[in-house]
Symmetry: C2
Subunit: 361 residues, 2 copies
Amino acid sequence: MVVEAGCILSAAKERAAEDGMFFPLALGAQGSCQIGGNVSTNAGGINVLRYGMTRDLVLGLEVVLPDGKIWDGLSTLRKDNRGIDLKQLFVGSEGTLGIVTAASLKLNPLPAQRATALVAVASLDDAVALYRLARRECCDLMSAFEFMPPTAFALAQAAMPDLVMPLSNEYQAYVLMEISGSGLIDVADLMQRFLELGLERSLVLDGVVAASESQARMLWNFREAMVEGQVKRGRHLRTDVSVPLSNLAAFVREAELQLAAELPECLAISYGHVGDGNVHLNVLPPVQTSEAERHAIIKRAKSIVNGVLADYRGSISAEHGIGREKMEEFRAALPPVQAAMLAAVKAALDPEGRMNPGVLF
Amino acid sequence: MVVEAGCILSAAKERAAEDGMFFPLALGAQGSCQIGGNVSTNAGGINVLRYGMTRDLVLGLEVVLPDGKIWDGLSTLRKDNRGIDLKQLFVGSEGTLGIVTAASLKLNPLPAQRATALVAVASLDDAVALYRLARRECCDLMSAFEFMPPTAFALAQAAMPDLVMPLSNEYQAYVLMEISGSGLIDVADLMQRFLELGLERSLVLDGVVAASESQARMLWNFREAMVEGQVKRGRHLRTDVSVPLSNLAAFVREAELQLAAELPECLAISYGHVGDGNVHLNVLPPVQTSEAERHAIIKRAKSIVNGVLADYRGSISAEHGIGREKMEEFRAALPPVQAAMLAAVKAALDPEGRMNPGVLF
């Protein structure tokens, strides 16, 4: 499906759905963000686990180059292996090499069935173990696996006071899990049998499966309200880091321990997509903190998180990109060989440095 | 999993399997080809449908650059969105920008179950319809869907005289289909129910499901012997083209009609992976043809196929790359804007033109 860059993501998804197809990119901002921006930032979101990031969902691009020429790379071929794949340069380059004006999107069949469950687990380690079990037992049908911390519900309720806790007790960690598909596989039955297996293996402590579309919506509200609840707490450190999955729990544990020791007055919360090693480890100063103090706390917290992250060879940007905000950190950590390669590519395509100055370069 | 570039593909697959994991790249040449070559040519193969090409299976690379410096991009992160993704430049660039010396590979859970079936269908149109049905009904568990022409069996038997035709009649077209997975989904049952649905919809005319690993092997032998059978017929035109899936049957029909009209003495056969729009449309001169005549026939046949392909905005190389053989065709069809972009990238990374001269540039 070919869409113009200005097409709103949710409109693109609706257009695909009219033909019984599914464009899997799914973000909080989908009602306002545009396909051109999704491509230029290589947007991620909740379906990355199964369908990949924007890079994996693009078959071709049309790009206006810095010299004003138009590159027509709007292929709709699923498979094309004619040498260097130029479109890859524009995906995620944040507008620094050219302006994406249209994209050809890869579609999937629209899932007709969806099973959503909120599951309580004992720890992030167990959440990772449950994820690995789900990858095996549910094969490629798992479409979301979101980890949330013990404070998730309190945060969610702060943003959405009517929210009812779907589980009867509080737990150390939660997982919001979704399996989806169409056709001959009974997805609800698969979810049921998977959760029973999780209980048997003592990985699942409690859980609730949405019995309707509106109940599923409510479980997702829990996840989204948790994010909003943080905003209500005032300015705080938001991170978007990734480490290899095998190190995820150790990384979070170590960073949270260091944060608790050095910034005991703050609330550190970690949540994320688990399966791709991506975690948002955020640090919230106490509500009453002044703006000046917040600034100092955020700076300190960021340096603690990044310090631990470097030990794990992690990424400071798993899905949100660099932009202007992470420019300094990004450039500081760039190995010289890589910096020289990037500079050469930039000079080759945008010799006068016209495109999005101050970003990436 | 990090492997050196010289690692044989089948050895990499075995190493992954020792940890219960699966490296999905699967090619006829897997016993001799090396990971470095797979990366540089962005190799495809029979599992592309589900797992993608080599590009989709690589998390990081180590590359020796034309100036002798080493770029350490050997990340094992599943998700990393720090601006321009340099590794994409080296995947599929056929050694023209640097020498890949190691790769970090993305693994999947090893499928514990596999169901293989050989199915008879009435036409390539029906094969495409059956593929679309399978994409919906078997969700993402279909791992192969290979289309074969009516002459497939005769060709296969020429290469493998002991081969027993697995179906009791001859048909207009065959599909070799595989569903695989692990865990809670009964893959054999899924295949059975899918074939019943295909029969109900009159898309499946006949079929046989492998009852054992050795029977599955035998069905794959049929596919592989068909390829060998062509080699036994002497030099011929081999193509590796792709068109959008919705045009696949029309493209093949038109190309075969033109070939039948202009080269009636030749045997045109079309087979391929269907789901990704990739078809190998080969043209075999009569066995007795002299080498000089073969040369003329191949040239004429290629021009017919490429003519029809151009009308469908198809690719002359869906998975095999350009190399030296398709250099002329590739350069002739390159739009000027794209040629200038490629030249700029080449000059940026390999200003002296040291890397694999004569290929792509």
